[in-house]
């Protein structure tokens, strides 16, 4: 039996390639030079997720860079999915950073456009947007597969990358959303994580479109979920986070319980129910749990959803 040829050979790639249901998590680096934060978060998630997204100046707020935080997570035994936005870097920086990340042993990369600067803590910043996320995916694919820089020049040692992208099934125009994913697949994306899903019927509708054009066969789709800590989080997501679709019934359900531990328990219960429902959808290869500043909820949710132990791949 010949060994599978992996593009990067990351844990995530192996799990998805073997057709096992993947679980990814998310860690936001700190807004300071505190090296202990990622260490602690990685300690909480290790063994409960297959890889963890390390956000890149999430919501346009300055934090420790995703390359260093990703490296730290991996040093603590948790595989990183390094996020990279087109907002803060031009094509030179994005190529330099992926080479650097590769040298540090980072294999999974998530290519994003990035939230606009106006949302963050430096609204006067100049947005770069030299490339868009689709250009970025293609650039990294060509670096990996052709050992070429975007300008066409060759490099002696190509980075080994498992290339991811994001898609928002709830963005508009809805009829273009699956087609936009197709563009990302054509550009070279290997896996995709969705924006947080709260509106499952609409996600199912989108997956139908995705399957209709056969994309579920060409890209590994991870459904994004955010466990809600309370009704406040639900309302915030509904009203302030761009591109989010939170049905009123979710807000009502979270407001039906008391704040604190009862709300936390309800939020976890809701997340587990959603994971189970989403796992049944044809073409969904895994879940991406974005427990923003609530990483400690992840182990329990993963366990309650029956997703333990996480598969070991050689």
């Amino acid at each position: 039996m010949t060994a599978t040829e992996y593009k990067a050979g990351s844990n995530l790639e192996k799990i998805l390639t073997e057709g096992k249901f993947a679980v990814t998590g998310e860690c936001g680096p700190p807004k300071s030079a505190d090296g202990s934060i990622i260490e602690n978060k990685a300690g909480i998630l290790k063994g409960f997720v297959d890889a963890v997204n390390i956000t890149d100046n999430q919501t346009a707020v300055v934090r420790v860079c995703s390359m260093v935080s990703g490296y730290q997570a991996q040093q603590h035994g948790l595989e990183a999915i390094m996020q990279m936005t087109c907002r803060d870097r031009n094509r030179l920086a994005m190529q330099a950073d992926i080479l650097g990340a590769s040298v540090l042993g980072i294999k999974n990369i998530l290519c994003l456009t990035g939230d606009h600067m106006s949302f963050g803590n430096h609204p006067e910043a100049k947005g770069v947007h030299d490339l868009d996320a689709i250009n970025l995916i293609k650039m990294y694919k060509d670096m990996r597969d052709e050992a070429r820089f975007q300008c066409g020049e060759e490099m002696p040692v190509a980075p080994k990358l498992y290339i991811g992208c994001a898609e928002n099934p709830f963005g508009d125009p809805f009829e273009f959303r699956a087609l936009r994913l197709k563009k990302k697949v054509e550009a070279g994306a290997d896996f995709m994580q969705t924006q947080c899903i709260f509106n499952i019927p609409k996600f199912k509708e989108w997956m139908k479109e995705v399957r209709a054009i056969g994309l579920h066969q060409e890209i590994k789709i991870l459904a994004g979920l955010t466990p809600l800590k309370g009704v406040g989080a639900a309302k915030y997501m509904k009203n302030f986070v761009p591109g989010m679709d939170v049905p009123q019934e979710i807000v009502d359900r979270m407001s039906s319980v008391e704040k604190g531990p009862p709300a936390h328990a309800e939020g976890k219960k809701l997340a587990v129910e959603m994971i189970k429902e989403i796992a049944e959808i044809e073409g969904v290869a895994g879940v991406h749990l974005m427990a923003v500043e609530w990483e400690e909820a992840v182990p329990e949710i993963v366990e309650m959803a029956g997703l333990l132990p996480r598969p070991a791949v050689a």
Partner: protein
């Protein structure tokens, strides 16, 4: 057209300082049409400066004038005498006009009274919207006549980002509320044209060296040069 907005009076006063002979110079082309820096607005600003000087008990001679176009040498010749007579010129032209004036009459002191902000279109009376980024490599032949470079907040080339909602851009600030998502508009118009397949194509990275990223630009028309 080029649009501009007048600077706050305090900023203009700080630029003028204690200069005695002040010439406020309007421009009767783009900035006049956008009601910012034409002869009428130059006259108003001159009055404001005069009132302020009087309130402060400063002696000052403040005149106004206007050129048909401050960005062309021959029109500047027509106001040369007034400029030579002034200690400072407060130009209400766009950035091009202001610089033409400063170059033509160098080392005369020329300061701006406006902030040039965009290549915009008068959508309705007293409302201008940005329409062109002068990127040097126009793509709107493939995007239904809608510019993604300046009308998409992220200058995306391959369709809307995840923040497009109900036809609106994710960027909504108090000053910029209600921005249309350019890619939603492009999608709808391409569909109306029966050309939506143009949205399915992956466009390569844009060549920004043709924009200001390539350094100051220069255009030469050899065939139009005088023999």
């Amino acid at each position: 057209m080029i649009t501009a907005e007048r600077k706050p009076l305090d900023e203009i006063l700080a630029l003028v300082g204690d200069k005695k002979k002040v010439l406020v110079a309007g421009c009767d082309t783009c900035v006049a049409i956008c009601l910012t820096g034409g002869e009428k607005e130059a006259e108003i600003l001159a009055s404001e400066l005069r009132i302020k000087a009087e309130q402060d008990g400063r002696e000052a001679s403040i005149e106004h004038t206007a050129a048909i176009r401050q960005c062309e040498w021959e029109y500047l010749d027509m106001i040369a005498d007034k400029v030579k007579d002034a200690d400072i010129v407060v130009s209400m032209a766009c950035g091009i006009g202001i610089q033409s004036m400063a170059e033509k009459f160098s080392p005369a002191l020329v300061v701006p009274a406006v902030n040039t902000n965009m290549l915009g279109m008068p959508q309705e009376h007293a409302l201008w919207l940005e329409r062109c980024g002068a990127c040097g490599d126009c793509v709107i032949g493939e995007t239904a006549g809608i510019c993604p470079v300046v009308r998409c907040s992220k200058s995306l080339m391959n369709g809307p980002c995840g923040g497009s909602h109900d036809g609106k851009c994710e960027v909504t600030t108090p000053e910029k509320e209600d921005i249309d998502c350019a890619w939603h508009l492009i999608w709808e118009r391409l569909k109306a044209q029966g050309r939506e397949e143009l949205m399915y194509v992956n466009r390569p990275p844009k060549n920004w060296s043709k924009s200001s990223s390539g350094g100051p630009r220069k255009m030469v028309r050899e065939e139009a040069k005088p023999v």
